[in-house]
Subunit: 354 residues, 2 copies
Amino acid sequence: MKPTLQTVADVVGVSRSTVSNAYSRPDQLSPELRQKILDAARELGYAGPNATARSLRRGRAGAIGVLFTTTLSYAFIDPYAVRFLRGLSEAAERHDTGLLLIPLSHDDDETAAAKVREAVVDGFCVYCVPDWHHSQTVMKSIGRPAVTTAFRPDAYDFSVGIDDRTASRQAAAHLLRLGHRRLAVLAAYDDVDGARLGPIPAPDIDKIEDFEMRQRLRGIRDAVVDADLDWSTVTVVNTVTNSRAAGHAAAAHVLDTSPRPTAVLGCTDLVALGTIDALRDRGLRPGLDVSVTGFDDIPEAQTVGLSTVRQPAIDKGVIAGELLLDPPDDPGDRHVLLPTEFIVRTTTGPAERS
Amino acid sequence: MKPTLQTVADVVGVSRSTVSNAYSRPDQLSPELRQKILDAARELGYAGPNATARSLRRGRAGAIGVLFTTTLSYAFIDPYAVRFLRGLSEAAERHDTGLLLIPLSHDDDETAAAKVREAVVDGFCVYCVPDWHHSQTVMKSIGRPAVTTAFRPDAYDFSVGIDDRTASRQAAAHLLRLGHRRLAVLAAYDDVDGARLGPIPAPDIDKIEDFEMRQRLRGIRDAVVDADLDWSTVTVVNTVTNSRAAGHAAAAHVLDTSPRPTAVLGCTDLVALGTIDALRDRGLRPGLDVSVTGFDDIPEAQTVGLSTVRQPAIDKGVIAGELLLDPPDDPGDRHVLLPTEFIVRTTTGPAERS
DNA sequence: TTGAAAGCGATACCAA
DNA sequence: TTGGTATCGCTTTCAA
């Protein structure tokens, strides 16, 4: 029989409340009594209040659930994701809260729903989950607060994001200004129908279900249209997976078509880095023979000299956490738009040279 | 007022048990009644049983706590850690269990203890926590099962690990067989006293509190002694942080001493890769001018051609999870020793050339 | 197939 | 400062 608060109370000859206070509110009883209780507890093998029971009574789980549809590996292999989580965990830590990872990869609706419903958490952070995902319906019905990592006042209680569309428009405009006219785009998303690697018909980008990817592609299109270039001349390829290797493969495909594009826009830094790998394979020099841009500004981008859109990943995490754990009074503050900046480094150059 | 099981029961005119069954044991009531209950619940905005209450009643939290003393970033920036966690999450998923991250970095004893005590979990996975850490005392007193990621029948209920000592001995023996006599070792550990970057006096390695690092260094010493080399001629430097950058810095220090070592043993792949970065800075060729070995065999090691000790990271995670969630009946199976293999690639070569 | 009653283990309020 | 009591929301025998 495992010892409980009651056990200790009986042994010491005090009430449960007093034992409880000994643990949770030391100032509510004399140090001597407290010590006596703690000693007795130790002797009985009582390890302190049961966490679950305390959660129930207090109405606080002490954790926030992080929902994502990628596998655990993918979630953490992306340096951008890691930085975001770092920010999130910083905020969580400040509020004595843990992070419960809830991977929803390859789950059917039932399973996903169960995972969300059975999560002992005070709120959710929707990290990488499309709107249509069944988990979202369930999550919303649970009535716990949820924050998502894109600017989505339309669909979530709280949200923090950047203006993906404008940011990627800037990247594209930069290349167009340099005179590039043969552009290729590498997107990375995984839709409900199982998007495949390969060219995406130009008009289809509006149907992409991944909010961020859709916006980034639209931004590129905006710039292309601004520059009086025909959007259908732009090759858009989906790498499906957001990884350097997937970017490498997709870029290989794109670079071997003729005429070769003079610039490749990566929708994430990882696929842009993969593109640079593919260039190197072919003896092509980034920024001279072919220009490359990325998105995120992960640490490796700096090492490589990748021209890219910088977004504040850690801040995004911190803010997501704070929104959830210390909600602002003013409803107007519940959705945060963070600034981005296009960083010109060495992987972009004039088109003449290409 | 949030709706509860009772609310729904009252509205439908049945008892709480029946509503509970509607959710948790559909076979216990007629489909019609179940549907009626579910409909009423939806209408009332009742989202299904409260997870915490259910946990309390069932005596199952549905999560395992992952304890580590590094920061969240470091925990996930190491590809080895990511692979381990991938395995762990695979096992967890099989048992409908989540992963609660519990970072114990820069916490005082009180805080660490509180985090452990308040974690709503069914068991703990001690990922990167030294024996002396206060959290361990608390954890053990809680009475929930714990698994650690080293072969430690002496100190934990369950454990899974490799023979670090023998494995690193093999790496060192390989170099010695190639004729290397001026060796440097890069360790990466963070002791209670705050180990600093810099040379470690030779006899001190037995005092290192990080179990794995201690064993790896001992293994190297074993090989050195076997080869009739004086252990005190070997320079051991601690990078403190296990990262490529820290390895880079420490290696720079080591490579700029004269006479320069002809071989550098990295105690992890990350610091070994950092060493290769440092070699490149100096125009030195790995495997020709200076030999380098690593430990872990992370994916990047293969790309770079690093000679290293391969250990089954994912399997380690899977087994850790299974030990916790589906404990073997036979006590003899509670501690698992996994095989390792020394992989010779291109970063090691004969000493003559150095 | 359904319901009544007894907890799971703790906390919080209020009274002493 | 300490104790009594109600309650957090659900599951689970057991009986009807």
